[in-house]
Symmetry: C2
Subunit: 384 residues, 2 copies
Amino acid sequence: MTLASTPATLNTLETPCLLLDETRMMRNIERLNGLMASHGVQLRPHLKTPKSIEVARRVMTHPNGPAAVSTLQEAEQFAAAGVTDLLYAVGVSPAKLDRVLALRQRGVDLTVVVDSIEAARAVSTRALAAGADVPALIEIDCDGHRAGVQPGNHEQLLAVARVLHEAGCLRGVMTHAGESYGCRSVEAIADMAEQERWAAVSCAEAIRKAGLPCPVVSVGSTPTAHFARNLDGVTEVRAGVYVFFDLVMAGLGVCSVDDIAATVLTTVIGHQADKGWILVDAGWMAMSRDRGTAKQPVDQLYGLVCDVNGKVYPDLLLAETNQEQGIITLRAGSSATLPDLPLGTKLRIVPNHACATCAQHEAYEVVRPGEPEVVAHWERFRGW
Amino acid sequence: MTLASTPATLNTLETPCLLLDETRMMRNIERLNGLMASHGVQLRPHLKTPKSIEVARRVMTHPNGPAAVSTLQEAEQFAAAGVTDLLYAVGVSPAKLDRVLALRQRGVDLTVVVDSIEAARAVSTRALAAGADVPALIEIDCDGHRAGVQPGNHEQLLAVARVLHEAGCLRGVMTHAGESYGCRSVEAIADMAEQERWAAVSCAEAIRKAGLPCPVVSVGSTPTAHFARNLDGVTEVRAGVYVFFDLVMAGLGVCSVDDIAATVLTTVIGHQADKGWILVDAGWMAMSRDRGTAKQPVDQLYGLVCDVNGKVYPDLLLAETNQEQGIITLRAGSSATLPDLPLGTKLRIVPNHACATCAQHEAYEVVRPGEPEVVAHWERFRGW
């Protein structure tokens, strides 16, 4: 789809497509920037959510970074756009080190992540063979969520640190409290933030106590970044989904539904009146199959339904999705009335998980509250 | 990612990426072609699964079609590649009729689908205003799955048919037994195929009895296409996912795991030995969030794990996914042994749902059994 020569509006956009409310996005960015300034800690926004140069320019605190990425494709794209301080925040496999070195040789300060002696050896050996710096952070498993050295296992921590240090690759430690997505209160998130901070800071101290350098102590997730009580000893905080927020974050209490900046514009294509169903052209291809709120106290199915201007209909949900069709119904047990939405009516769907829903689209159609005009068309990229 | 100048192999491909076993694909295509030939019924393959010109050329029975699509983007792409007989198999919204007309004016025999008087009026009005043919099929709801006129509601059926006929737009009926995905036996699928056939044929007969034309009677889903006992009165069968198959289809008994042609190539990036976890670089971005087997008797979580050559490891599953990381573990309760898979090991993951997993990728890396070389790189497209 290409934009017509006349400016697109909410009514002329082809559906389904991805809308980005610029006003909400800027408010979300400024909120976390303010929090980090109050802590006196550098923010390293994670660009895996936006995957867009235009959004990156707005979410980064400086045009050169810092920023985090989840793929080398992201690193290469953002490097081409002038970002020079990047953390590749997923454990690096040895085969990917050629691309890491190529980026570093182009002047990009790209840091990698390892969590084992094997991975540390692969990085060190490659760095020494190339006569190049390949700075690495040691991942710490602060919450049993996925990768990382156990925070109490100083033997392994120091063994990894020494392998890296011998090749001049040791830059610090990083951790991510992914389990914060499963918290049930803001207090629990704040406790998780402290657990995340402590895991990283205590490991950094153990490394320094062993006479090794540990300049970087990197922590973060969107929930913990917003509710950390203190960040003593932390040098940078990473967060990604906060730029758009989503229903999972609203369900956690990290934001309100009115903060959610990315929605899917869709069109009514039919009805099953006897069943109370409204059919739309947003299926799982437009929404993703992500059902992140299924584990939360309030399950939002495939998303909350809003009118074309973004006003939420009470208890109206995208309940089922096929590839290119979705079924809208009232929430089970609701006393709300099914709105009359004739064929051709445009609606917005608020997604469970912004990272997953945005990844289904090639661009953002940028809008502002109360304005029908699309003010910009920002491309996304994908792949690895 | 671009292919290196030397031919890629399974060992040099960047991961994650999408592998397509050409030999299995051709076997799947020939199997259904043979079944349709034995029924004497035309196959209209659904190209929403492959979204690739190269796959389309192999799955269609003739270079010009027929074929079905789920978006106008697919229609435009396949039309540009020479396909002239297309069914846009999702209920059309009035705003999309401009693009439908543009394709028809380019000589593409594109048929649309409606299931209400409102949609039929929109199509008829637009066709008359343009002085153009816009052939339409009336969708029948054979199984309560989503859209369509109820098969017993001849009053509505004939009202829609008359609106279409007055503008010369009535071409026939279509239905899709989406509920066949929930069947628990091959016999249940065969019964569902008969229900699907009966719904379409009985509605076609009602239309003809009213003195209106109904040349096309289109039915199909991958399960019902493979187990229909008879297709009397049906003029064409649609099916899509059979070209690649997947774990959902294997769980239904429509294929075996050894028929599944599309897999995701991934690399081991770490371990949590105490937990029996192997971490890989295939997360939900590479697999999709589709968990279609969750509702089946055997839940395959995010997919079955194979070695690099496609041999399945007993009870080894991709159990969890983050955006760019997956966690492989043994199935709960399994007596199998966790294989020793060092950092850098390449693996293949067999997906739940081929349509959803393939949609996460930009191309197919085409391989053949027992050959390490990538024999072709076929691009996919996306969007609406």
